[in-house]
């Protein structure tokens, strides 16, 4: 708790008439907030002998930790991988718009791009706290260019690279500065990947395996070197084979170091993954499932042609393809749609679906003390949802930052 007399005098908010997601269960409890953090009401009552200053009635809604999107390439016309004149305002626009989807923190994602783009763009996407202006930036997710040519998906072939010459030095030379980076996707079969993975892990950057043709053994070695995430499971990797499960096999691998959890992103837009495949992954390793949108700039724009990285894409309802091909190049389903799709496809509990979009990404990033949870001391970033998991209101640091237009009776 922040010390000093001032914090003790700060107003205490009490959100009542709601169901909290706590310890994996939906409980009929009140949420107490002070100075943007979740407060322990018992300590307030006995130690400080105080009651709440303001009460907010949540209308019987579900109160869940705010969603965290760790893979989003842009949206609303903004492309994070474009070196525009004002990168900052592009990020800010997306940050503000995704509040309506229940997202309170996110990782702007850059796809494979030439080094000039990284050098220009990265310094303008700093880690930033969320607020009424928009969701918080937890760090940048770099997806590529150190990926497999075969499994590049929508990434432009011309800009793929390898680090076999100088390993980590090549990585630094390509990106310029890694200060704002929190996740890096690479293909572990590339030569000297283990050195790179170890260096990145030592810097606190989460290494993710993706866009790769690695077999299970290679993937396991990568995990032992420090990799902790799989980028959009099933997509852009070898399919599961019963004698070589490939990267997918990490979900049930016995070579994962003790105490470590391998997390994996899943795009639950109903297009990128067949619901049956989603169920197989969820049942095999429910604790590691992280819902991501992998949203492209066309998110929120509607049908038509838009740019992604260095390529052009075509949008048709909920599908987005590389123009002129049948290669999927990202999703345009917002996070709350993904959560609902996930709930329906897997038949899992409300609590599981909500944790997949909040607690698990927080755990992946090592932020579970303050994000993705409603435990005492955590940041008061949360969403109010109705029983069908439609977002009714979004709060960051206990402040209302978005509200559904139609008021609930």
């Amino acid at each position: 708790m922040r010390g000093g007399q001032d914090s003790v005098r700060a107003p205490v908010l009490r959100f009542t008439n709601c169901r909290l997601l706590r310890a994996g269960k939906l409980l009929r409890e009140d949420l107490w907030v002070r100075e943007g953090r979740i407060l322990d009401p018992e300590k307030l009552f006995f130690d400080e002998q105080r009651l709440a200053d303001q009460q907010r009635d949540c209308g019987g809604c579900i109160l869940a930790p705010g969603f965290i999107d760790v893979q989003i390439n842009g949206g609303f016309g903004v492309d994070f991988s474009q070196a525009t004149e004002d990168v900052g305002s592009g990020v800010a626009l997306v940050a503000q718009k995704i509040l309506a989807h229940g997202v309170t923190s996110f990782c702007p994602t850059l796809v494979t791009s030439p080094p000039e783009v990284y050098h220009k763009v990265l310094p303008h996407i700093p880690v930033k706290r969320g607020g009424p202006h928009g969701a918080g930036v937890l760090g940048v997710h770099l997806e590529g260019p150190f990926i497999s040519q075969q499994k590049r998906g929508a990434h432009p072939e011309a800009h793929l690279r390898s680090f076999e010459a100088n390993a980590f030095k090549d990585v630094l030379a390509t990106y310029g500065c890694l200060d704002n980076v929190c996740i890096l996707t690479l293909a572990p079969e590339l030569d000297r990947s283990h050195e790179v993975i170890r260096e990145l892990t030592a810097l606190g950057i989460r290494v993710s395996l993706g866009h790769s043709v690695a077999d299970l053994q290679m993937a396991e070695k990568a995990v032992q070197s420090g990799a902790t995430f799989i980028t959009h499971l099933f997509n852009a990797m070898l399919p599961f084979h019963h004698r070589d499960p490939g990267i997918v096999g990490l979900l049930t691998s016995d070579q994962v170091p003790a105490g470590r959890c391998v997390f994996y992103g899943m795009i639950a837009d109903g297009i990128h993954t067949n619901p049956a495949a989603l169920r197989i992954a969820h049942r095999a390793h429910p604790q590691g499932l992280v819902l991501v949108t992998d949203a492209i700039p066309a998110l929120g724009l509607g049908n038509g042609r838009h740019t992604l990285g260095q390529q052009v894409v075509e949008v048709d309802e909920l599908s987005a393809y590389v123009a002129g091909t049948t290669t999927l190049c990202g999703s345009i389903a917002p996070m709350d749609v993904c959560v609902r799709n996930f709930l329906e496809a897997t038949g899992c509990s409300l609590e599981s679906a909500l944790e997949a979009a909040s607690l698990h990404p927080a755990q992946l990033l090592g932020l579970e003390e303050c994000k993705g949870t409603l435990d005492f001391g955590a940041d008061a970033d949360f969403v109010l949802l109705d029983d069908a998991l439609h977002v009714q209101a979004t709060y960051i640091s206990g402040e209302l930052v978005w509200q559904a237009e139609v008021a609930r009776p």
Binding site: N17, K25, L27, R28, E29, D30, P41, E42, F45, F46, E48, Q49, R50, L51, G60
Partner: protein, 251 residues
């Protein structure tokens, strides 16, 4: 004494809750007129199973009470006896206890006034009997060495000064204690029996707790239920209520 016999634990609890509700409404408390509810005490403050946690989770968080109006004995106080004396003073300052609600142990104790406690005792430090320590072991994961051996408790005399006393007794394991409390004489070996000399006592129990009583005692008091059940009739008409009842908290 009124002996109220209900079928099960839930009915007994509900009856007791309604009775307390009615008493508070009839008392018509205000800023200068406090309805003081007395409850027995327990474990030291720090422990997660402490009485503070118990009271918070089971009572205080469900009602709007000014924290300044709650007084729980602090087992971590520097001078325990002074803490006890101060507690007695606070009771006097609040105008005395209007209604004391408690349960009894299998050995017939009220609060932590174990067999042998003086029937005129006041709030004090009490050593706990082995039976009580064993019973409380479940709060400490079965580790007997972690169970506190002392507790601060209100005395029998303190409770006797309350204007009304309600004792809740449920379960077959309390049946013998109930028998000793109401069908035998006043004895410091069964401290609850002291309330035979209190002008206004109610014992609320379930069927199982009556197993050691004489059939005629049980029949007599069951016969009085026609009158006694009027004590818990709602004082306001339900039809007048407009808002839907609030859902209870998860416990």
């Amino acid at each position: 004494m009124k002996l109220i016999i209900l079928d099960h634990y839930l009915e007994a609890s509900e009856w007791a809750a309604k009775y307390i509700r009615n008493r508070i409404i009839q008392f018509n408390p205000g800023p200068d007129k406090y309805f003081t509810l007395g409850l027995p005490t327990g474990l030291p403050r720090d422990h997660p199973e402490s009485y503070h946690s118990f009271m918070w989770n089971n009572f205080f968080k469900h009602i709007d009470i000014d924290p300044g109006n709650t007084h729980i004995l602090d087992g971590n106080a520097a001078d325990l006896q002074a803490e006890c004396d101060a507690f007695e003073e606070k009771i006097k300052d609040a105008g005395g206890i209007e209604l004391f609600v408690g349960g009894i142990g299998p050995d017939g104790h009220i609060a932590f006034n174990e067999p042998g406690s003086s029937l005129v005792s006041r709030t004090r430090v009490k050593t706990l009997a082995m039976d009580t320590i064993l019973a409380n072991a479940r709060f400490f994961h079965g580790d007997l060495s972690k169970v506190p051996t002392m507790a601060l408790t209100v005395g029998v005399g303190t409770v006797m000064e309350a204007r009304e006393v309600m004792i809740l007794i449920t379960g077959a394991h309390k049946a013998f204690a109930l028998y000793k409390a109401i069908e035998e004489g006043v004895s410091h070996m069964w401290t609850v029996s002291a309330f035979q000399q209190h002008p206004r006592t109610i014992f609320v129990c379930d069927e199982d707790a009556t197993l050691e009583l004489k059939v005629k005692t049980v029949k007599y008091f069951k016969g009085l239920m026609l009158v006694h059940s009027k004590l818990v009739d709602p004082l306001y008409s339900m039809k007048e209520k407009i808002e839907p009842p609030k859902k209870p908290y998860s416990d």
